[in-house]
């Protein structure tokens, strides 16, 4: 079911963020920062854009999603649970030895996960393969690949970008979660990574710059991407790492750390307050 009301989508995004905090807190490890920064993007994809049915997670003609930044699995798991692919209670077992919710997504263990990821820089090549396969069989699937900005430092990404444009994959849409931070600092300081949009442009992509927390803007961007023929789209989504939890926002330290009890309670309280504002 496609949700079009922006307020409703905002509530879902808020719930997804709560799921991120709960799973990382209960798992006592994981990556909250980048998970919170992509929560709005995932919300729009799974509740407004993608052709999916949680009752048929392997349906042939479904759209595909590849979380190339696999460490942000809490965001994906929380989204899938929210969408109904599995029971939300399972989020509490994240990273637990008896859980299927692995630290990084495993397509053979979790319904709704289209590709196993974790080693950065590999998801776009896989997405290219999926987009080619869909075109070969005229299946009409769209393939979405969510990447971190730090991840763009991997050379394979640009090999894949070339292949996407050479093969005119207009059914492929890359989303860059451009939160500007990686483990060792800002992407500019650490690796000199700048001008992400013009990089993709020069690789033959239709590029759209967007505020990655603006639901309306995101919807418009995904719709525009569908209209472009003969070339892939890259949506460069400007985001805030840790978005939605004040003390995590723009803090590198929250890249891969679980909150303690006090921090957990504070984060949940903030998200609850935000939810009430949305009512």
């Amino acid at each position: 079911m496609k949700i079009t009301k922006v307020e409703a989508l905002k509530k879902i995004a808020n719930d997804i963020r709560k799921g991120v905090i709960e799973s990382v807190y209960n798992g006592k490890s994981g990556h909250p920062g980048g998970s919170l920064s992509c929560a709005d993007i995932l919300t729009v994809l799974y509740f407004n854009q993608m052709n999916l049915d949680p009752k048929e997670p392997l349906a042939e003609g479904r759209d595909r999603f590849v979380l190339s930044k696999g460490h942000c699995s809490p965001a994906l798991y929380s989204t899938l649970a929210e969408k109904g692919f599995f029971d939300r209670k399972l989020l509490n077992d994240f990273r637990n030895i008896n859980s299927n919710l692995q630290g990084h997504p495993d397509m053979n263990k979790i319904p709704g996960v289209d590709m196993t990821t974790g080693s950065l820089g590999q998801g776009l090549s896989v997405s290219v393969g999926m987009a080619i396969a869909s075109k070969m069989e005229s299946m009409g699937c769209r393939v979405y690949c969510l990447m971190g900005d730090g991840e763009l430092e991997e050379g394979q990404v640009w090999e894949a970008a070339m292949a996407a444009s050479k093969n005119k994959l207009d059914n492929l849409c890359v989303i860059v979660d451009n939160n500007n931070l990686q483990i060792d600092g800002s992407i500019k300081e650490v690796a000199g990574l700048t001008n992400i949009d013009s990089k993709f442009e020069s690789f033959g992509f239709n590029v759209i710059n967007v505020n990655g927390h603006d639901i309306e803007e995101l919807i418009i961007s995904f719709e525009k991407a569908k209209e472009v023929k003969g070339m892939p789209t890259a949506i460069i989504a400007k985001t805030i790492k840790g978005k939605g939890v004040s003390f995590m926002e723009n803090q590198v330290g929250w890249h891969g750390k679980a909150p303690n009890k006090e921090e957990y309670e504070k984060a949940i309280q903030e998200l609850n307050t935000n939810y009430i504002k949305l009512l």
Binding site: R64, D106, M107, N108, D114, M115, T116, T117, G118, S119, G121, Q122, G123, L124, S125, V126, S127, V128, G129, M130, A131, I132, A133, S134, M136, E137, M139, G155, Q156, E159, A160, M162, A163
Partner: protein, 309 residues
């Protein structure tokens, strides 16, 4: 005159034939299709062939993506750049998710020849057989390669097929039976067993003939599947023959010799002589010269056995 053919040639020809029967097969290459011989398939089925250019990591990823849609990708480049450069992609994007990708790597071993050490992959068996879910096959002649190319399309999951540049004799007639996970025993001599794989099988067979004239009767075991390994055959030969020798165009660390030793140390401890590249890099030269230089040719086997006697 003895007919010789490189396993990469047999691969290319058979793949193009198989493409007729199995429409799910797609072929990918990284700018080496004239050397890996995937160009035969490319000519016949241009819509099912993808040359991704010089980007081997990307090559493996695209294959993984295609396989999630039910395609059966056969992926080719040189062994160095498949198992070496794209190791992480093979491990994490293909083997861990257990995707149905067939990695058919040509130009393995020092028998690549003149290109020298940077292109002579002598660690691939080791790298590939230690990855869970991976089947590792190394064929010795035209007949066996043609069988393997088709057979691997029938098993679900990742396969590493090791192929060579050097033309080697045709060993088997077309009626020969093969099975994945089973070695082929040639002869039933009891003086020694030589476990060989790929290009070294025909060398072992030559050595067998020479040794016969000297009153030494050996058996040759062609290790076509390196993983899963045929425990039964290894133990049987260790029990039935006086000596065990392994020979491979690969580093003696981690390859065929190691695989045989792993079984014997646990099941039937005995001495194993490992012939192969003695933990050193290769060098430029003609393949035949290099086989002699690194002591993986028939004469070296004969010499070794006479020394040991």
């Amino acid at each position: 005159m003895e007919i010789k053919k490189a396993t990469r040639e047999s691969y290319g020809e058979k793949l193009a034939e198989l493409g007729e029967i199995n429409k799910d097969i797609v072929v990918l290459d990284a700018d080496l299709s004239s050397a890996t011989k995937t160009n035969i398939f490319a000519k016949k089925f241009p819509d099912r062939f993808f040359d991704v250019g010089i980007s081997e990591q990307n090559l493996m990823g695209i294959a993984a993506g295609l396989s999630t849609f039910g395609k059966i990708p056969y992926v080719s480049t040189f062994a160095m750049f498949a198992a070496g450069r794209a190791y992480d992609q093979i491990r994490n994007s293909i083997a861990y998710p257990n995707l149905n990708v067939k990695i058919c790597a040509t130009h393995a071993g020092i028998t690549v020849g003149e290109d020298g050490a940077t292109h002579q992959m002598i660690e691939d068996i080791s790298l590939m057989r230690t990855i869970p879910n991976m089947t590792v096959i190394c064929t010795s002649d035209d007949t066996q390669t043609r069988w393997a190319v088709e057979e691997i399309s029938k098993i679900k999951g990742p396969v590493y097929l090791r192929l060579c540049r050097l033309a080697t004799p045709i060993i088997y007639n077309k009626e020969q039976d093969f099975e994945i996970g089973k070695m082929v025993q040639i002869g039933d001599g009891t003086d020694a067993t030589i476990f060989a794989t790929g290009v070294t099988v025909s060398e072992a067979l030559k050595a067998k003939e020479i040794l016969k004239t000297k009153g030494i009767d050996i058996r040759v075991v062609d290790v076509c599947t390196i993983k899963p390994i045929d425990n039964e055959m290894i133990i049987k030969c260790a029990k039935e023959t006086k000596k065990i020798i392994t020979i491979e165009d690969h580093n003696i660390i981690g390859g065929l010799g190691s695989a045989i030793c792993e079984v014997l140390t646990q099941e039937y401890p005995c001495k194993v002589i490992r012939m192969g590249i003695q933990d050193q890099f290769g060098r430029s030269g003609k393949a035949e010269e290099l086989m002699k230089y690194y002591k993986i040719d028939a004469d070296s086997i004969v010499e070794k056995l006479l020394d040991e006697n």
